[in-house]
Amino acid sequence: MPILEYEALEVALPGMARPILDGVSLSVAEGEAVALVGESGSGKSVTARAALGLLPAGARVGGQVRVGGAELIGADADTVRAVRTGKASMIFQDPRAGINPVRRVGDFLTEQLRLVGGRSKAEAEARVLELLGAVGLPDPPRHLRQYPHQMSGGMLQRVMIAGALTADPRLLLCDEPTTALDVTTQAEIMAILRRLQREKGLGLLLITHDLDLAAATCDRIYVMYAGRIVETGTAAELLAAPRHPYTAGLLGSSPPLHGELTRLVPIPGSPMSLAQSAPGCAFFDRCHFAQPGRCDQAAPPLAPLGAGMVACHRVDELANSAAQEIR
């Protein structure tokens, strides 16, 4: 049974031309690492937050989100709290914004155990010190008494990870966990996350805009564009042979991690805002292969292709060749 499962999740804000999420289906099995990749504004963060019952205020919501079998859409407060305090935790992008700056780090780490878990202060601190050791923070007792501004971004992100683990979750949601950090720290944080995920057999959903990072870290990848999943497959497949023009574009627009730097090919144009909508493929305006009269008529469905799935009208014609070419 998957630890996290979305079925046709739809989230719409009143007054907007298109929904934030439009029929998102996605699953993460126990012990599996899955990435959700997309540009900012594609809806990937909203997707992740939905797994904790955090939805934009006033949004209209449809579909299903299940965490460890518990349905979250339309759930009562107790169910939501049970998910948040034992099934799933989230690691946010910027630890400096995500940890209350006027309270001590120890306070952030222990508050869930003390205030919801009913543990004593001593019990909570013992547990937290253990976790701080596990995320590789030197001299944990000293850090408990510090304030966030007294620690570096990388150390704070370790604190955030330890804080996410205090409730022993089975699912870890990571929303761009390394974007706010400097490059050397990024690799360390990702290594810690992968090690913990494997050791504890956690399900992991990594939200990122970086397809290479996703491929290096995760087993499977979902690519999201304008609130829809446009391609999914195993990390190796997707990286070797992207089939949606958008996926191919993402690969072309990021510098290769290894090997020499080839010319970067940016995706032309900018992503569609919530105020815009299109009757056809949302990527139509920016696509090299868009065919007027076909691609702008109806949105392409997400259809199985090989081991993965792709949402593109021209996927058969383009096959591998064209997508390879643009790479």
């Binding site: 709290r81 309270r103 869930q112 205030l115």
Partner: protein, 324 residues
């Protein structure tokens, strides 16, 4: 706290206290020299309205050293003030210190009760206004703030006195009262009248400060960890919103002290505020000068204390080394 942080905290506290001393010195000089702005001879100005024999005028001349150079006069006066000698009231034939001391308790009670009302109701309304934003309750708070900020204490006094004092007869309309309960009964309406404007300001600041903090990402993080909303509001929103609320509270102190003049006069209470009005009216300048100095000094001291306490409310201030 490491020794270096401790040193830095002590250093910034010392700097603030020094700044306070300088400000107090300058304000005392301004208050002192104001006497010499008055038209005519300062000695006869001080006994204006009362018949003074040449001997009395001579005594005043000697006491104030009007024949000394100006800085020397200031120095003598300041020495006296620092020793608690604020001069003599010609109206009450007592030392100014005694006149003030007799009326201080009533004013302290009035200001204290008003401050309590402001802290509880003002902050409370601000919290409700922020949490219920966009609803009927939230709009009601906004309306109350707009109207309340424009209702001066003398209007509030007239209305409260008319409705609850005269028409309904629930509260006394004049005087200070005798024992503690009676005093509280007497001070209720004046304290409400005094607090209305300031309550509106505190509500407004609390509301906007809460709204700022509600938007912070760490609030979402706390919610995502399953903490009850009420707990998150208390521990992460209200706690973080305290800084601006306390700062504004400190700035309101002088306005409140001056407004006691209006409220005490309107309710026929005897206190520092009504004393100020009485002494301006009857030209007892020594007392006026002392009260002006007192109000400004309290303001400066309270705001220095607020500055000193600020690092406890927001540890980030401590890191900045107390830079303004």
């Amino acid at each position: 706290m490491t020794p270096t942080t401790l040193l830095r905290v002590a250093g910034s506290a010392a700097r603030r206290l020094l700044g306070m001393a300088v400000t107090l010195l300058v304000t005392s000089f301004l208050v002192f020299s104001s006497l010499y702005l008055a038209p005519g001879d300062p000695a006869s100005f001080l006994v204006k309205g009362r018949s003074a024999s040449p001997q009395e005028l001579l005594a005043i001349r000697q006491q104030y050293g009007f024949d000394d150079p100006f800085p020397v006069r200031y120095w003598h006066w300041l020495e006296g003030v620092l020793h608690g000698d604020l001069g003599r009231s010609y109206l009450f034939h007592q030392s100014v210190g005694e006149v003030l001391a007799a009326r201080l308790p009533a004013t302290l009670l009035l200001v204290g009760v008003a401050a309590l009302l402001i802290a509880v109701l003002g902050v409370g309304a601000g919290i409700v206004g922020a949490l219920r934003r966009g609803t009927r309750t939230g709009s009601a708070v906004l309306l109350l703030v707009t109207v309340g900020a424009a209702v001066p204490s003398f209007v509030a006094a007239i209305v409260l006195r008319s409705v609850f004092g005269v028409q309904l007869g629930w509260f006394p309309t004049i005087g200070n009262g005798t024992d503690l309960l009676d005093r509280l009964h007497h001070v209720a309406l004046p304290a409400i009248a005094l607090s209305v404007t300031f309550m509106a300001l505190v509500t407004r600041v609390t509301r906007s400060s809460m709204l700022d903090e509600l938007r912070r990402e760490h609030v979402e993080v706390a919610l995502s960890r399953g903490l009850p909303r009420r707990t998150v509001i208390r521990r992460h929103v209200l706690r973080n919103a305290l800084g601006p609320i306390v700062t504004v509270g400190g700035l309101l102190v002088s306005g409140m002290l001056v407004s006691t003049a209006i409220v005490e006069t309107a309710f026929g209470m005897s206190g520092i505020g009504s004393l100020l009005v009485q002494c301006v009216d009857q030209l007892d300048f020594q007392v006026v000068q002392a009260i002006v100095l007192l109000v400004v000094a309290v303001f400066v001291v309270v705001n220095t204390v607020v500055d000193l306490v600020h690092p406890l409310i927001d540890p980030r201030v401590r890191a900045a080394g107390g830079a303004r």
